[in-house]
């Protein structure tokens, strides 16, 4: 296991970077209408159909998703990353790069979705009932499309 110090040094920024780079796209649809949302394990944001570049952001799932990504990254680092990378000078360089890219990605993403944001506590696509068709896809990069 890596230390708490390394958790802050590597796991958090890598989790943020992963959240930006790979997510799940959920499409809920009836015959003539659909909605697309992004986030894993829970959909936490998606373009709103109210106006141009308006986003709906679900606060609860967003927090859970980010924590989930960080924990997954922490587990992967603990099991799979060679100690050579995490130790001494190499580790500092890796940590700086991870923080720059991870935090930078998250900031850019939040800027992009802040043009016309609307916040909900939990559920994004409440209109689509359990009978609606739902498909799930891998999505690379920030989910910003309809």
């Amino acid at each position: 296991m890596i230390s708490l110090r390394n958790f802050f040094k590597y796991s958090i920024p890598l989790g943020l970077l992963a959240f930006f780079g790979l997510t799940m796209r959920t499409v809920a649809s009836y015959t003539d209408e659909s909605t697309t949302s992004y986030g894993f394990p829970f959909p936490c944001y998606g373009l709103s159909s109210v106006s141009s570049m308006a986003y709906e952001l679900a606060i609860g799932p967003f927090i859970i998703d980010v924590i989930f990504y960080i924990l997954i990254c922490h587990t992967i680092i603990s099991l799979a990353i060679p100690k050579l990378i995490l130790s001494s000078r190499n580790g500092n360089v890796v940590a700086i790069l991870l923080w720059l890219t991870g935090l930078g990605s998250m900031i850019f993403m939040l800027i992009a979705v802040s043009i016309d944001p609307h916040f909900v506590t939990w559920k994004l696509d409440g209109y689509f009932s359990e009978n609606a068709a739902r498909t799930y896809h891998f999505h690379f990069g920030p989910g910003l499309n309809r």
Binding site: D32, I111, D116, Y127
Partner: protein
């Protein structure tokens, strides 16, 4: 000669146009603010009323640019959602078959219609990719509504089977439901046409101003015997230019990248 009459009701501007109203689609193709574009086009084309039109999509980089700096976005970076037709030609926009359109099918003939899917390519002027309020007399809302006697199992939202359709009095729509959930203070832009009154109604409400919710807008339109009506781009995209001045202005960011407007004279 067309005539327009303006009144303000509960925070919502309502403009009624009669006697040969002509609709014109405007698509920005320069690097300029949306309001400057509207002002210029209104003067050049003698338009009495101009409202915002289609939804616009941006790339990730353009979204960040809009937030990070204060300058108009090059028009080529904005992608209208839904087709924009003028004089039988596709001016801009992408196909949007699951959404609705509003069109004036024949130039010079004051008759407006709305339907599901892309607008007719032969239309005099039309805008697609928008949300329904009333289509051929059928109201839209957050849920399906039925007459008394409907068989069990009729869905509250989404697709309605043939056996339930004779009982349907209101069809659900996701865009309408989302707008309704935002309440009365979210900006709104709507247009509708009454066949019986031969009157075009243009409704616009500024974002953040207390006004009618989506159901309230629908009630106003039904009260005026409107047979076809749609919501355009809402929230702080809402823009209304009337008689040489702006009564509703878009938000600062939207003013940088909105591209499509609908003019009337």
């Amino acid at each position: 000669m067309s005539a327009f009459e303006h009144r303000l009701s509960g925070g919502t501007h309502i403009i009624a146009g009669v006697s040969g109203v002509q609709m014109t689609m405007l698509v920005r193709n320069r690097k300029e603010y949306f309001t400057d574009f509207i002002e210029r086009e209104a003067k050049a084309k003698g338009l009495k009323v101009v409202i915002n039109g289609s939804f616009i999509d941006l790339s990730f980089a353009s979204s960040v640019a809009v937030r990070a700096r204060s300058a108009a976005l090059d028009a080529s970076e904005s992608t209208p959602v839904g087709q924009i037709i003028q004089d039988g030609k596709l001016l801009a926009g992408t196909s949007s078959t699951g959404k609705f359109n509003f069109s004036q099918d024949t130039c010079g003939l004051e008759k407006f219609s709305a339907s599901l899917g892309n607008p007719p390519l032969s239309a005099c002027s039309a805008v697609g990719g928008i949300a329904p309020i009333i289509i051929d007399g059928l109201s839209y809302g957050a849920q399906n509504a039925y007459k008394v006697g409907v068989p069990k199992g009729a869905p509250l939202t989404g697709d309605v089977d043939a056996k339930f359709k004779p009982f349907l009095t209101q069809k659900s729509n996701a865009m309408f439901a989302t707008l309704l959930a935002r309440g009365g203070t979210v900006g709104k832009t709507a247009i509708g046409y009454s066949n019986s009154k031969q009157t075009l109604f243009i409704l616009s409400q500024a974002d953040g101003v207390a006004g009618f919710d989506a159901n309230g807008i629908r009630t106003i339109l039904i009260g005026n015997n409107v047979s076809n009506a749609v919501f355009l781009d809402c929230s702080d995209s809402s823009t209304l230019y009337y008689n040489g001045k702006f009564l509703v202005r878009p938000g600062t960011d939207k003013n940088e990248f909105l591209t499509v407007a609908v003019g009337f004279k």
